[in-house]
């Protein structure tokens, strides 16, 4: 079963349109949602959760068109964790125990200890990183089958980010568990994601298996005269400076003998965004 199916999802605000987004997240996978600020990542997550209402299209979450019916099975961490500022971690746990049918109090307590979060300190006095960790602890403690994470690793130090990525890997080890994660920190997504979706100005530029993307595209760094020898359709983006040329190319279209190096997701994202601009 697909964890998420977005078909022709449309939402218009003043000055922005999420334009007919089609996205499918298969069960058991992690999908990274990449895009510039204002590209529509948070809008997409909010539409999935019905925090904002769609203008058109359809959203299916864990097989249900009514997300309200499956919210018990969806763990959410938003860019600002959003927990009540006057509560401490222990009180949050008590509130969530009454919120979720499958609340795992022991698992929550273990995560609080693992994350080194103080039980009695108020949420408002937490650092940004601590807030996100508490959000993660809640999202991972109620037997969710799908995690929706919107910029959830921002504000975390590299060690904490790495720990979160490990948790996500562990999470998807369980059969049928899936994750949709949006982030500016593309290197994080590259580490854990099975699929990468690029959104640019409200439009989906591509959605592809990460390994296939890395296989399909290459970076050519050469003199401008050499770049001119590559057929134009093969070049997706190029940058020519007095010091040389750099181009994103389709591997299959590059003439044999051309030296082309591997591309990482961050380079791919930056170059494709520039091309689209």
């Amino acid at each position: 079963m697909n964890a998420l199916e977005l078909k022709n999802l449309t939402k218009t605000f003043d000055g922005f349109t999420l334009d007919g987004l089609n996205l499918t997240l298969p069960g058991g996978c992690i999908m990274g949602l990449v895009g510039e600020n204002g590209a529509g990542k948070s809008t997409t997550v909010k539409l999935i959760l019905d925090i904002i209402h769609k203008d058109g299209g359809s959203v299916k979450v864990l097989g249900s068109e009514d997300v309200g019916l499956v919210k018990d099975d969806v763990g959410v961490v938003l860019d600002e964790a959003g927990l009540p500022e006057g509560l401490n971690a222990a009180q949050v746990g008590r509130v969530m125990a009454l919120t979720y049918k499958n609340w795992d109090a022991d698992g929550y307590a273990k995560l609080i200890r693992d994350f080194d979060l103080p039980e009695k300190k108020l949420f408002k006095d937490f650092s940004k990183g601590m807030k996100m960790k508490l959000g993660f602890a809640v999202a991972l403690s109620h037997g969710a089958r799908l995690l929706l994470l919107d910029e959830a690793t921002s504000g975390l130090d590299p060690v904490a980010r790495d720990r979160m990525l490990d948790l996500l890997r562990d999470f998807v080890c369980d059969d049928g568990h899936s994750v949709l994660i949006s982030s500016h920190i593309v290197s994080d997504l590259e580490k854990v994601c099975d699929y990468i979706a690029f959104i640019h100005k409200g439009k989906l530029m591509l959605c592809e298996e990460k390994d296939r993307l890395l296989e399909e595209y290459r970076i050519v760094r050469c003199a401008p005269e050499e770049l001119a020898k590559i057929p134009a359709p093969a070049v997706l983006h190029k940058k020519i400076t007095p010091y040389g040329a750099e181009a994103l190319v389709r591997r299959a279209d590059v003439p044999s003998g051309t030296s082309a190096g591997p591309v990482n997701i961050e380079e791919l994202f930056v170059l494709m965004s520039k091309e689209a601009n």
Binding site: K71, L78, L83, G86, K124
Partner: protein
């Protein structure tokens, strides 16, 4: 719903202690017999508790996050009306007890007058929440703030007018509503129920 009530209880204990002090001061002044209006002020303060809780919710982005949790929008609205109702009930019970003690001391206990006071206090309490909450749920606390102050001035004006009528007619001894003593309470509760329903409708359409 239990989860939301527990969360608001924690928040109220943390952030609404000042209201408790203000209500106690108003209630004490009302007991001294200085001015009947102070009793109404205590009711108004109780009615402001839900808006205060909502402003904290909005500041911490709970209003957004809570929509991603397994609560319905109707539950998110209803909890504020329930909290408001409980706060108002507590204040009215306190004021009624004070009124009983006061009239006991002065030797002029009159059940009709007591009923009338209670009825008007219920009306005032309900009015505060009823005029404020739908706008706050529709526009948010920040955008709805202008309306919030207008509504407060309106409610304080009504409180002043009612108190004036009572002072002028010396109702510490004789009620003025007679057989219609319960009409303000019933009107207040009806307005509260309509406001509750309107807030749910607004909140279900609102985009966070």
């Amino acid at each position: 719903m239990k989860a939301l009530l527990l969360k608001d209880w924690y928040m109220a204990v943390k952030y609404c202690k000042a209201y408790l002090v203000i209500v106690a001061v108003f209630a004490a002044v009302a007991m001294s017999g200085a001015n009947f209006m102070y009793g109404f002020y205590a009711c108004i303060m109780a009615g402001m508790v839900p808006v205060t809780l909502l402003s904290y919710d909005e500041r911490s982005k709970w209003t957004v996050y809570s929509c991603a949790l397994p609560y319905t929008r109707a539950q998110l609205v209803s909890v504020k009306y329930i909290v408001g109702g409980l706060a108002q009930l507590a204040v009215i019970i306190l004021l009624t007890a004070i009124q009983c003690v006061r009239s006991g001391f002065s030797g002029g206990f009159d059940f009709g007058v007591l009923l009338e006071y209670m009825s008007l206090q219920i009306f005032m309490s309900c009015l505060v929440c009823s005029v404020n909450l739908p706008f706050v749920f529709k526009y948010g606390v920040e955008k709805g703030r202008a309306w919030y102050y207008i509504a407060l001035v309106l409610v304080f004006g009504v409180a002043g007018a009612l108190a004036g009528i009572f002072v002028l007619s010396d109702t510490s001894r004789h009620g003025i509503l007679g057989a219609f003593a319960l009409v303000p309470a019933i009107a207040g509760i009806v307005i509260y129920a309509l406001s509750w329903r309107l807030s749910i409708r607004f909140y279900e359409k609102r985009e966070m």
